[in-house]
Symmetry: C2
Subunit: 225 residues, 2 copies
């Protein structure tokens, strides 16, 4: 019997590759998407297709109603998604998002009897997000070992971050090698309801440069300007 | 101007006292309840009244749909709430619950510009829950300092646990001194829709013994047997 792992799956390029990597390592994959009120909800539909295409045993979408606290361009329609490069932590940072998503994954892992969580964080392209750094992930693991029944009983959970130090081009090449269909992934922060990308936000820019650097065709569906 | 704090408010005796303590310390209190599918949802109505009675500036209820993962007597109606004392971690333990609730509090605190979270965990009566221990809270604080924009910018969040080493009787005495109306609080794991307690679950037993030890009348509304 394979070991079970919970894979956080946003529907973007990184998390799709992460799922493919976890499968390639022989895990039975339980894909978890989190609907937290993000404006790009078409990524959740993408996640469902990707989970199926990449052989996840199960895909669940947990819904979190943040009761309108806002605080991010991704959850508050009054804050614009930046379309020019910024320095520091961008306005698309969602307060405590990775902590929240990992907490949900931790709960599901415990119910499944799994000790493995995969998250596609990347510190190269998303160095501006504090919760994409290795130090954060390490601290989360330490906390998780104390948080759960499984941890208290000597079975702590490991948080795998296979992409953390890869460039976008490396992620794309590895994903292609593992059969990920990137045309089904949605990375854009303001994708339309058909999953078509704006081509202008940070996430679109990083993704497009990744395909260029990897010297492979960009299969992204962009919406007409 | 007072400092703002986020107070996790379940609607039970401990969190009501915690809110009263935070107010007494001079914080502007933002009360946060989390609807995670618990069977005793009347505690959420209790939380709304308590927030108002104890002078919270705002009360929000965040809803988390755990997509039916279950794993606890509190979230899965197929698992009975135990009515006799148990050893070890009880079946009412909800996987990663305090991690999840603290993550939500952390997100709101960051949006508010607050560096203070209060949670009414208690390691004396709830020593069986791993996420009620001081070591867990300390590890959460360390993780949170790395997780957020505020933490990354040198303003980490403190998690206050004023009740952590108090007995239930001490909590009750302090709550009464601060004017908490315990008849409005709901502790029972299987309270009915009117908020009336069963009198038999762990939580009811611990609460009733607390009033006895404190030598004050028990104002709990029990439902007819």
């Amino acid at each position: 019997m394979n070991k079970a792992a919970v894979i956080l799956l946003s529907g973007g390029l990184d998390s799709a590759t992460t799922l493919a990597l976890a499968r390639a390592e022989g895990f039975d994959c339980y894909a978890l998407s989190v609907a937290y009120g993000q404006r790009h909800s078409s990524e959740l539909q993408a996640a469902a297709s990707i989970a199926q295409m990449l052989g996840a045993l199960e895909h669940r979408t947990m819904r979190v109603d943040l009761a309108g606290i806002g605080g991010s361009a991704l959850t508050d329609s009054n804050i614009a998604v930046p379309e020019t490069p910024t320095t520091g932590i961008p306005s698309t940072y969602v307060p405590a998002r990775n902590t929240l998503m990992l907490a949900l994954a931790l709960g599901w892992a415990e119910v499944l009897g799994s000790q493995d969580i995969f998250i596609g964080v990347n510190a190269v392209d998303f160095g501006g997000y504090p919760d994409c750094r290795a130090e954060f992930i390490g601290a989360f693991e330490k906390m998780a070992a104390l948080a759960t029944r499984a941890g208290a009983e000597g079975h702590p959970c490991r948080v795998h971050t296979p992409l953390i130090s890869w460039t976008k081009a490396q992620i794309i090449c590895e994903g292609l090698r593992l059969g990920v269909d990137f045309s089904s992934t949605v990375s854009c922060y303001q994708a339309d309801e058909l999953g078509r990308a704006c081509g202008r936000c940070d996430s679109c820019r990083i993704r497009r440069s990744g395909f260029e650097a990897a010297r492979v065709p960009d299969p992204t569906r962009y919406r007409p300007v």
